[in-house]
């Protein structure tokens, strides 16, 4: 199914504009992630797709050729995984998963068969008769997913499906969830505030901020070619290089960097992995902090820009705090973005 959203917006009765007019298309079988900090409107957009939120007039939500904007949530045939999972505590795992089929009056035999299929698909067979209160976080998540998928929805919507889990579990379940979503071959929209989650799971990512869709694209595109400083900072934690631009160079307290010809009136960013320690480099700075994180060192440098600049250093040895070092940033690694006017 193809999801098409035109001009979607939401204004609360108190005047708060949670979502400014937004267009979005999600293709057949595509997994799209809505990514942004809390309060950016991503959950509002998801709830408008589900039919749980009444959007402002003028909004149009289409499932393929059908306009569902005014269709009640219970008739939309969407599958949704809630942040808290919202499993029904009065029912067993099997009854939870069968609920959507039961309220649609699917005959018992067919219902049982479908539930068994989904149980197997989500590796929940051993837990079918358990109470949902007796499950671990990861199992609950799978039940929530199985329950949403059992009625064969037209689209799967996931609201922060990993945030209820503790950090250690989250990383391992992220890849598992990505694999399961691929296996379902369903159009899916999933909301997260965690860029690592979005990068790992989604085919395309829509970055949102303050009710506005900033950029939509493949993960690599967003990472390598952000269109705004917000996207650059939010994806991959790009650091600003605040300096003055004069005759084709960026002038920083720690030295000068050549820029592409004709650059003026721009903000320049760089990521920590693109800042290299190099004795012949054009920039100089002083080591402030050194943190070892297994595969590399994370080095905090003073004196290069006004603030602390971080470099990811892959060597087996690192300089010590207080050492003076020279740095290199390759011209191709600089993210040159238009000034943020807001």
């Amino acid at each position: 199914m193809t999801l098409t959203i035109r001009n979607a917006s939401k204004t609360y009765p108190d005047g708060t504009r949670a979502l400014l007019p937004t267009d979005l298309t999600v293709g057949e079988g595509e997994i799209l992630s809505l990514l942004g900090p809390s309060g950016c409107g991503k959950t509002t957009l998801l709830r408008i797709i589900a039919g749980l939120e009444t959007p402002d007039a003028g909004t149009q939500v289409r499932f393929d050729d059908e306009d569902v904007t005014r269709l009640a949530v219970e008739r939309r045939n969407v599958g949704m995984v809630f942040q808290s999972y919202a499993l029904f505590p009065n029912m067993s795992v099997r009854a939870n998963i069968g609920y959507g089929l039961k309220v649609r009056k699917v005959p018992r035999a067919e219902r049982e068969q479908r539930v068994d299929e989904v149980l197997a698909l989500c590796r929940l067979g051993d837990y079918a008769e358990r109470a949902v209160t007796a499950l671990s976080g990861g199992q609950r998540q799978r039940v929530a997913l199985a329950r949403a998928m059992a009625p064969r929805p037209r689209i799967l919507l996931l609201d922060e499906p990993l945030s209820a889990l503790d950090a250690a579990l989250r990383d391992s379940l992220r890849d598992e969830l990505a694999a399961m979503l691929r296996q379902f071959r369903i159009t899916a929209v999933f909301v997260t505030h965690d860029q690592a989650e979005a990068l790992a799971i989604a085919d395309r990512i829509a970055v949102m901020s303050q009710g506005v869709m900033q950029q939509v694209g493949r993960p690599e595109e967003l990472y390598r070619e952000p269109v705004s400083s917000f996207v650059a900072r939010f994806i991959g934690n790009a650091m600003p290089l605040p300096g003055t631009i004069a005759d084709g160079h960026l002038i920083l307290p720690g030295g000068r960097l050549p820029l592409a010809a004709g650059t003026s009136d721009a903000e320049v960013f760089v990521r920590a992995e693109d800042v290299h320690l190099d004795e012949a480099g054009p920039l100089s700075g002083t080591v402030e902090t050194v943190a070892f994180s297994g595969g590399h060192y994370r080095i905090g440098l003073a004196g290069v820009t006004g603030e602390t600049l971080f470099a990811t250093h892959p060597g087996r040895q690192a300089p010590r705090p207080g050492d003076s070092v020279r740095l290199r940033i390759d011209a191709g690694d600089l993210l040159v973005l238009p000034q943020d006017r807001s």
Partner: protein, 263 residues
Amino acid sequence: MRLTLPRLLQLAVTLLTAAFLIVPAIQSILAGLTVNYFRGLSSGFTLRWVGEVWRLYADSILLSMGLAVACLGVTLVIGVPAAYALAKNPGRLSRILEEFISLPLAVPGLALALALLQLYGSMTGFRTSWTFILVGHVLYTLPFMVRSVLAVLMAMDLKSLEESAATLGASTVTRFRTIVVPNAMPGILAGALTVVTLSIGEFNLTWMLHTPYLKTLPVGLADSYASMRLEIASAYTLVFFVMIVPLLMAMQWATDRAQRISR
């Protein structure tokens, strides 16, 4: 537990208080089973007074049981949906409404009974029927049902549960039936036991609302205290204890359970 002087004093106060509460209750149980209380326990034990109570007051006891069941039915029908509606709209208006229906907890039963009599006293058919007493009982017990169910509903994530049921295709009525009511059960059970217990023991309103032909158990008790010999009054009290104590214990168990869930 180490017994220090302050602990001993606390224990003494606790035991004395317990004695103050339990001794007269035991007295009344014994008196109801003694042949002649004035002569003491040596006069022997008998069930004669209990039999006498049944002969004199069976109607009252049965009326109270019937009233309690009817009261439970009405409070369920009115209270459970109302608690759901209040839980769905936790605004100022809901708070005011909840406060208003809780008035019968604060305003003495005597005043409420007078108010009911002022308005409906002249409608003879209604005034003299058992439904008039029922109204009083529902008035007094309804807030307990509403609050008990409301507390459980507010404690669970009602919004998410209902929304997830809706995305799965359940209509409003189906959600109420299959999600809301089953999950509110601990609160409904605690509320139901409270309603039955209070209805059976209700006196303040009932005394004003009853007619000579419709005496409830506690009204009969007051009647027996005023006009019967001590042994019969005691035996009647004993019958009341036998009915109310198990109910009270079940009610406390159910309320504790509902509160644990609410936390």
